[in-house]
Symmetry: C5
Subunit: 306 residues, 5 copies
């Protein structure tokens, strides 16, 4: 554990905000340099499809499900939109939040128009909410798409979100993706490494990236981790997977590829509350607590309490 190194404070965090930055970074990573992010921005990103249908627990029909999970399970932070946090936060004061500042729906496909996801709230809005509400807001998040014809807009917003977050002593997570007609294969390893490198240049504390396609994914993910340098890489959980396979892949990401965390959304919240909590704790154990897959499965099966 190299706390000092992990919480190395970027120089655009003003002196007066360094302690807050370090405290929040430590809280996000439990002082172990690894972030377990419960990513819950899908109500805009994927609309209704992620919350209703075959194989999805009826619990997931209510947006409060996400807050209940976040409240009862071990997580580094729960990332969701400002509007939901403002609405539910009073009843979920223990939850550590990352405020997601942009989102787009998936209705317009890339073949119709190049992707553009614009900021919905400013970092100033977040800082004011935090000051007024005393919610436990630990960071902010923003998605960019390199390879979009609107790339210039998103790179600028991403750079400014990070810089302004640092101004307030808030760590920033960039969802770093490649998308657009110019990007034939979004999960091509060099493309992912490129996106991670861009996140590093933009000053991100964490880059949330896609898991690479292909049989040599663990190896190629190392390249991604290297390309991001001191910007810590966390992998998206992606679509629904069988639990053990999910945890095995996650374990590999952390211990083989060297990622610094995980970002899991649908694989958590599409389960019933009780199962989601157990699964979330299992993900946390692998991500942060160096648990083996076997131990994590035990947590999932409920042999070990939270």
């Amino acid at each position: 554990m190299n706390e000092g190194k992990d919480a190395m404070v970027p120089l655009d965090v003003p002196r007066g905000a360094r302690k807050e930055y370090i405290d929040r970074y430590s809280a996000l990573t439990a002082g172990r340099g690894r972030l377990m992010l419960f990513a819950g921005d899908q109500k805009i990103e994927h609309l209704h499809a992620d919350f209703h249908g075959e194989g999805i627990s009826p619990d997931d029909a209510d947006p409060e499900h996400l807050f209940r999970i976040a409240d009862r399970s071990k997580i580094g932070a729960f990332a969701t939109q400002f509007g939901l946090i403002a609405r539910y936060g009073e009843d979920y004061r223990n939850v550590p939040y990352v405020v997601k500042l942009n989102s787009k729906t998936n209705l317009v496909k890339t073949l119709q128009a190049e992707p553009l996801s614009g900021t919905l709230w400013s970092v100033d809005d977040v800082a004011a909410l935090r000051a007024e509400s005393d919610l436990n807001i630990l960071g902010v998040g923003y998605t960019f798409y390199i390879g979009s014809e609107h790339e210039a807009i998103m790179l600028r917003e991403a750079a400014q979100v990070v810089h302004q977050a640092h101004h307030y002593g808030l760590p920033a997570i960039l969802w770093a993706y490649a998308r657009g007609r110019a990007v034939p294969v979004e999960k091509d390893p060099p493309v992912i490494a490129g996106a991670a490198g861009v996140a590093a240049c933009l000053g991100a504390d964490f880059a949330k990236v896609n898991y690479p396609d292909g049989p040599d994914a663990p190896e190629r993910l190392k390249e991604v981790v290297a390309a991001a340098g001191r910007t810590k890489v966390i992998c998206s959980g992606g679509g629904r997977m069988e639990v053990e396979a999910f945890l095995r892949r996650l374990h590999q990401q952390i211990h083989v590829s060297g990622t610094s965390g995980s970002a899991t959304g649908r694989n958590i919240h599409q389960k019933s509350l009780e199962e989601a909590v157990r699964f979330s704790n299992a993900v946390y154990a692998v991500t942060v607590e160096d648990a083996s897959v076997r131990d994590a499965m035990s947590i999932y099966w409920g042999d070990l309490g939270a």
Copy 2:
């Protein structure tokens, strides 16, 4: 009646504005958690066609007709554009207003260009008007279209309208629609549920949605209500309908699907003043006062006074 829960104050309402927010929310919903909205923004949205022609009362030719109805009937609020409110408000001081901040005409069709409805006035403009005029302004409204190529502009404006309204202790209603070449069926239930979920993520107090198409509409509307969580769903009245069928559908929305109100426009104002007032009162009775369809029909027929 669960007043406390219904008026739960979002955390981006500053402490100093919480009482005003609660008072306005209660006024909008008569302390019963249900909003009967008289929606009158069609002079821009639908131009002349909604106010003149066969089956439309000659009374509707004059925009003041809307204010006369709002003045004489029971409503939660009358939603219309800032310009009309500034012009007629002095003579209609009893009317509770929701200021509609954006609108577009229906001249350019979706096949020609993707829909874009931009803010015409800011929430600051509304707050200044309220302070200067002491009009009974209870909230603001904004329409967004997910699935439009201009979605990013509207989602940002919607998020900011809500957030700034809350800053002033004003509830915000989002007209939550899906429209664009990417949206083949605007009234497809999952699309409506998706739009309602987006409104929730943007922090809306109320989401005004389309009534779903299809025979299982009441059931599917439940899904929409669930997807919106603590953001309250109200259904659009839609095009002209026969009175009893309208009230029956409304009763079903409230008591079967669990919506928290109604938004009625053309079905009210295309009638003569006297009939419009009776009909509006009937809609109010079903929406807010738990009246049966039979009781509401009696109100409409004038057996029971307002």
Copy 3:
């Protein structure tokens, strides 16, 4: 004469500016509720073609011609661009001005690109000019085109021009037109009524509209007047017409259709100074002074002095 009603002050005029608003409104309408507008923004709108050629007086070649006419004839106000007013105003201090804040040329046709006319000066610029120069500026003007793909830009600017003008106690006139590929017939009566209704929603004090096409124009124009409600309708003079026919049509607009004024440009300034003054006075007599066409023709023929 119902002065009180005509000068009803919109509520977005601050208390401290109400007296100025009423004074200017009365000055524009000679306390009779009718505005005779000498519309002179064609040097941008129509370029050289309106000022030179067969049937156009050589006097019209010099832009000062417009100021000379405005100075010597009876008018409610002379509307032209800020730049010309700043240049000539010192020598024409008696002229009542309406500052036209946007304009576009007619070079790019609708089939090539959708119309967009953007603000060139702000209402703040006008207020500063008025304060500094003490010119007799009575209002501001702005053109919008519903049915253009750029409608959202113009509706926002129009709404803000009106609102900001009211802030300074200045009445606002909206040139309310429909134009774009989506508008096959610009002078279709329902389209004109729609544009007038939009102007009302945007808070305009006056809506300058096209005269409808068709044999039942006087009747259909009534609909337009009704649709605008308390926003007063004035009709464009349109292209060159024979004098008596022009005055007859104008008389009909005022006394049959119920418009509250007239906006005449080319029919005035394409005449020689002396004839233009006589004609302008005749237009004024019909518009404001309840003169008969016969009386107005006498003024035009010079039998009656100004």
Copy 4:
């Protein structure tokens, strides 16, 4: 000589800046109402082609050539970009400057994309430079293209450049052109007159226009001068011409067509320093000093010293 009239101060020049405006206007026109402008913005407008090649003096390869000419010859003002003035101004303090605020290259042709030339520096930047450096800056310049689909952007910037320049007591020159797919013949006389009229409406002190095509150019240019009213017209020098023909045409512009100056670029700076100075002085003599073509030719041939 009608100094009073020529320096008539537009009303958007604040009282406190009127003296400065008059002084600068007089300096620009040598108190004779005529401006000889040495126009040197071609390093962006025409790139390398104007400064290197057959028939162009090797002196012209160095941008300092322009400053040397401006320093040693009689001119009303030297117009060039802010960046060059900031770089060379210290060594050329005697030169009277007009700061050109926008420019575009000629790489993208009109058939590929509609022309857009945007402000590069603000009038505030110019005022700050003047205050800080005490350079002899007498005015600002801006190019607009009517007939471009981006016309709305440029008309707004042009209007604001003029208005803000006046705020600081600085005269403003508009390069008034028509260009775009909608403009088949840029040098058609009515098109030029239209552009000059637009410049007048935008408040320009001087409009720099193209010399009309056609045999009746001198006559048609009168129309242009008339259309601009109190906005003074100066003609572009255009492409390379034989000296005597150039001066003859210029003499005709001033004394037949009634223009108030000249704008010469390539015809000056493509000559060697020594020849350029003689030629510039000849242009000045015709433009400002009422010299005959014969006298001007003597100056050019060096018979008469500066």
Copy 5:
């Protein structure tokens, strides 16, 4: 050596910032008027491809490699993005930095969409970082593309970046390129000269240009140097080259063509740390210290220490 001339201070550097400007300019050029720039913005510009693959040292996989090289070798400045500097700067306080303010990826090709590279951070952000961190930031950089349909955006940003940098006493380097469908041959000498001239007009202290194509490149580069005037030209290193050929070409640029420096990226950082340091020192020796190619090769081979 003409220090006075080289550090001639542009007039938009305020008096109070002149000393800082001169100090930084001297530091950038070692008081000899020549800048050796280690250009390291490729993690956005070229993504992963420049940092991984055949012929690239594994050292280059980690972004810190760039900082290690910059720390241990002789350079005028290391140019890279703000985000990386903020992240690594604390550990590399000796490095002289140029903050690159814009960047785009190479995913979207010119045939798909015209190039646009927008500012990611403002000069104010850089000034605040410098003040807060006391890092050795000597200047800022910005890339523009003439010939792009988005040229107007980039020329404006470039002009403002230079002007604002000067406000803070910071020299500014413009990456001056031509790119777009309108530019068939980016490395055509007149096109390069044009871009350099534009950089001069925009006020750049240094213009980083492409090395011309063709056998007469050294001669044509002279033209470029002349066209830029007092704006100093430095040549891009371009793609990977054999060491001696690289140094020979560089020597020619400095001593034949008269450039004032070099900008080298991939040719440095794709080597192992130790080789990169030796090569960087060799480049520095040729660029700044008037070393012969033979001497520089000795440095590269390690015969001479740094």
